[in-house]
Structure formats: structure tokens, C-alpha cells
């Protein structure tokens, strides 16, 4: 039971950390988007 809770806690901790990092990085919102898959051109819309 404690291991299952530890896994849940870790997952939520990583999620909180990642969203915190995103908030810090995107705090100067200049309208940029993060598209990181493949070399295809980003749509002009």
C-alpha cells in the first residue's frame, strides 16, 4: 500500500514540477508554441 502511495505521490510531484517549470518559462508570454516533433513547417494559422 505504501509503495502504491509513493508511486502516486511521485507522479503528482513530477507533474507539479513540470507545470511549475512551464509557468516559469512561459511567464513572458510572447505567443510562442512548443512544437517538437519532426521537421514539418508549423501551420501559419
Amino acid at each position: 500500500m505504501s509503495r502504491k502511495l509513493a508511486v502516486l505521490f511521485l507522479a503528482m510531484l513530477v507533474l507539479a514540477g513540470a507545470m511549475g517549470l512551464k509557468t516559469v518559462i512561459a511567464s513572458h508570454n510572447g505567443g510562442a508554441v512548443m512544437m517538437a516533433n519532426g521537421g514539418a513547417p508549423v501551420p501559419r494559422k
Binding site: 509503495r3 502504491k4 508511486v7 502516486l8 511521485l10 507522479a11 503528482m12 513530477v14 507533474l15 514540477g17 513540470a18 507545470m19 517549470l21 512551464k22 518559462i25 512561459a26 511567464s27 513572458h28 508570454n29 510572447g30 505567443g31 510562442a32 508554441v33 512548443m34 512544437m35 517538437a36 516533433n37 519532426g38 521537421g39 514539418a40 513547417p41 508549423v42 501551420p43 501559419r44 494559422k45
Partner: protein, 231 residues
């Protein structure tokens, strides 16, 4: 329409991605690194699909825009599974496969719920913004997970050369994208930021091709060359 630079980088990237799968098959490592190969195959298929939509409908069309963002979300999920595949490899000797799977599914579900929560507050037509938000959030989850995995590699003194190479290249890949994203937000008037992502996207297949061709499955790196951790 995209210029010669865009097409050159795109074709190069797609060929390199296909090259990873070919190298993997030639080295008999396809099943062992299945999630990495799955991501590369999905990326090649997506590039072909995007090319079809681009030539039929154009860069500013709704069709291309929708296909681009939806396929990006699918690819991001594939990349997330590739990363979790690396976790499974690193922790396989500890017998923690079940926990890694549970962790990855919980984190994916948490990210999906969080993205829903963000979009639910502000949008009436939700599906497209939700897909976009999920994709963006998964990048940052992937970034944090990669650094955590690198910490685990150092702590556990992982020495398998291919695994180390795969993880390091993922770290460089995510970090460069995050840096580009941050700089684009800080200096939105500089136009060069839009040229960098396609170039960065070629780094991952190059590094994975190199790892598959340069090292065999039994190759080891000396722990002292990775880091010296005091006990």
C-alpha cells in the same frame, strides 16, 4: 509555402528517423528498444501525412493545421512512452517494471486531467485547445522526467553505452526545445526562433542512429567517465 530550407531539413529529418528504425533492425535491437522505434515510425508516418495535407491544402489551411496539431499530440504521447521505455530499461534489474508502468500511466492521466482543467475554464470548443494543451504539458513532463532519469543513471552507475547515449540525447533534445521556447517568449521579435525547431528535431535521430551503429548491446562506459559520486 515552405522554402527550400524547410523542405531540406524536413526531408533530412524524416530520412534520419527512418534510418533509426533501419539501424535498429540491422542491429537486431528492434524489440529491445521497441518504444524508441515506435516513436520514430510514428514520426515518419506523420511526416508523410503532413506532406500530403500540405501539398493538397496549403500551409494556412484548416486541414493542415488540424492534422499538424493532432498528430503532434499523438507523437508527443509516443515520445513519452519512449521515455518510459528508457525508465523500464534502467530499472529492470531492480524488478520495478510494474511500478514504472503504474507511475507512467498515473502521470499521463494526471497530465491529461490537468490539461482538461486548464482548457475547461476558458474554452467553449474544447477538443483542439485540449489536444494542444496536452501536447505542451507533456513536453515539460518529459523534460523533468529526463533529468530525473539522468539522476537515476548517475546514482545507479548505469554503464550501458546505448542506454546512456539515448538518455543524454533525450535530455539535450528536450532542453534545447525548452530553451528555444523560453527565448522565443522573451524575445518574440527575433525571427530566428522559428528556424531552430526543425534543426533541433534532427538531433534526436542522429544521436540514436549513432548509438545504434557505434555501440553494440554489451558496450559499457566506464562509470568514472560519467560522473564521480562520493559514496
Amino acid at each position: 509555402m515552405p522554402g527550400p530550407f524547410d523542405y531540406t531539413v524536413w526531408i533530412l529529418c524524416t530520412l534520419l528517423e527512418a534510418g533509426v528504425v533501419v539501424c535498429s533492425l540491422l542491429r537486431h535491437s528492434f524489440r529491445r528498444y521497441f518504444t524508441l522505434n515506435l516513436y520514430m515510425m510514428a514520426s515518419v508516418a506523420t511526416s508523410l501525412g503532413r506532406y500530403v495535407f500540405l501539398t493538397r491544402s496549403g500551409l494556412a489551411s484548416n486541414e493542415y493545421t488540424y492534422f499538424y496539431y493532432y498528430s503532434d499530440a499523438i507523437l508527443t504521447i509516443c515520445l513519452y512512452f519512449a521515455l518510459m521505455g528508457m525508465y523500464s530499461l534502467v530499472f529492470e534489474e531492480l524488478g520495478a517494471k510494474t511500478y514504472v508502468r503504474a507511475f507512467s500511466m498515473l502521470l499521463l492521466a494526471g497530465t491529461a486531467l490537468f490539461s482538461y482543467g486548464v482548457v475547461h475554464q476558458s474554452e467553449s470548443r474544447m477538443v483542439t485547445p485540449y489536444v494542444f494543451e496536452l501536447s505542451q504539458n507533456l513536453y515539460f513532463v518529459g523534460l523533468v522526467l529526463t533529468y530525473l532519469l539522468w539522476g537515476a543513471v548517475l546514482k545507479m552507475r548505469e554503464t550501458r553505452a546505448r542506454v546512456v547515449q539515448f538518455i543524454l540525447s533525450l535530455g539535450v533534445y528536450f532542453s534545447l526545445y525548452a530553451a528555444n521556447y523560453a527565448l522565443h517568449n522573451i524575445y518574440p521579435n527575433i525571427g530566428y526562433w522559428m528556424y531552430l525547431p526543425p534543426l533541433i528535431s534532427t538531433l534526436l535521430p542522429i544521436a540514436w542512429c549513432y548509438a545504434l551503429l557505434r555501440f553494440n548491446e554489451d558496450a559499457r562506459l566506464a562509470p568514472a567517465r560519467l560522473a564521480v559520486i562520493p559514496r
